[in-house]
Symmetry: C2
Subunit: 230 residues, 2 copies
DNA sequence: CGCGATATTGAGTGCACTCAACTGCAGTGG
DNA sequence: CCACTGCAGTTGAGTGCACTCAATATCGCG
């Protein structure tokens, strides 16, 4: 509940970086303090690359401020946008426990602050605080479930349903009828396995069907959630 | 290396169940012994259900003998086959750390023996042997990477490429030019997000292109791996 | 206000789907 | 031993969804 912003004057903004992440924020202040010593903060401009496929991977990245996207590139050059990460989300996990070469790219969508922890420091933390490993396991299983569900959508649903399901998810996350899309049509298309043109068309169809209303390209109103999902 | 089959006469075949799983097989015999006490073995006929979507989930399932598939059903009734599990693979992980209701189905493809561990027993094991948690983290990150890659294929590749990539993966796993498909056309289609008819056609195309040779429906020979992937 | 980027709309094409018929093979029983 | 049955797989014909390429409209920002 209470965020002791003044506890650690010397480290300043780095503290909140650790305290906002689900995998750490359950720890006691002294334990957090230990972890904060291993954390480094880096700032990025909009559109900057954080890591690239082929890069050696030995770092966990935690979004502190701003917004980043992770994506993969097919041989053909076609992009699949894996996820958009907001403050408190983290990335780079895979390589921390098995592979050590990135297969995906990460870049900022806005000016951002990213906190980093080196693999060896994290492993020290896991040994010292085994409950962190359990938290990460929980987080992983959530991501795995999500990824599997996403794959199932691709395998079983047509584009219009995928868009509808995406909007419904967004609605559930944000909890308001007015939903804010976190990305452009191009990125949305790359996330849903389609093209910007088709996204435009399907959104227009959903609007004329009375399921949604487009206030601006990134602000949609969900009018009929149940109808949307049918 | 040495499998002490006679160490534990009273439990018989249950021992190997623990000793073949990557997440446990690094442990010392006395530690394995402890885990084996928590393990129960169940036998299934071909095509039997192990768990279903909506079931309460508090069990980890480890394949000992046989072969099982996990799949999801869309509202439409269309099936997405998530994975085929062979001896040593496990399933049911997600719910052990976060959700507690299955979203997928599991059923045997052959007569099988499945070992089960209850959630609370597993949690005890994780507390006692933290290195098991690290093994599971590694296994999770591998699965996550795999699932993400699979989703990327759906988002960026056409059906023929997805089939080719699947065959290439199989070839890599099995290490032989003669590749054995672990499932029927119908299941393969459900795994690749297409239909049995299209699988037939595309395999025929790959054959007439000289990339593969079909000896029988489930036995393929990879003739030109590089060509296959282009 | 003007420019470039982003989004929408339009026309035409092709990949993969559906529905249907046919083939091949394994198991069963006359 | 061979016809019979049923399932798995293949092949064929026709259709439609979503793609590509192109033109136009709109937004955001200096």
């Amino acid at each position: 509940m209470s965020s002791n912003d003044h506890l650690c004057g010397c480290h300043g903004s780095m503290q909140s970086c650790v305290s906002i992440v689900p995998i750490f924020n359950h720890l006691q202040p002294p334990q957090m303090e230990t972890i904060m010593k291993a954390v480094r903060t880096r700032t990025f401009k909009k559109g900057e690359s954080i890591y690239r496929a082929g890069d050696f991977s030995d770092t966990l990245y935690i979004v502190h401020k701003g917004k980043i996207k992770t994506y993969r590139l097919a041989e053909s050059g076609k992009e699949y946008l894996v996820s958009v990460l907001h403050p408190g989300d983290f990335s780079g996990e895979y390589a921390l426990f098995s592979e050590s070469i990135h297969e995906s790219y990460a870049e900022t969508l806005e000016p951002s602050e990213i906190c980093t922890i080196q693999r060896k420091d994290l492993q020290g933390i896991l040994e010292k605080y085994p409950e962190v490993a359990l938290k990460i396991l929980g987080e992983f299983s959530r991501k795995l479930e999500q990824s599997e569900k996403q794959t199932a959508y691709f395998a079983t649903e047509r584009v219009e349903s995928r868009i509808a399901l995406y909007l419904a998810d967004l609605q559930r996350q944000q909890g308001e009828r007015l939903v804010k899309l976190p990305m452009s049509r191009k990125d949305l298309a790359a996330h849903l396995g389609t093209t910007p043109e088709t996204v435009s068309r399907k959104l227009a169809d959903l609007e004329s069907g009375g399921y949604i209303r487009q206030h601006s390209p990134k602000k949609l109103e969900i009018l009929d959630l149940d109808g949307l999902l049918a």
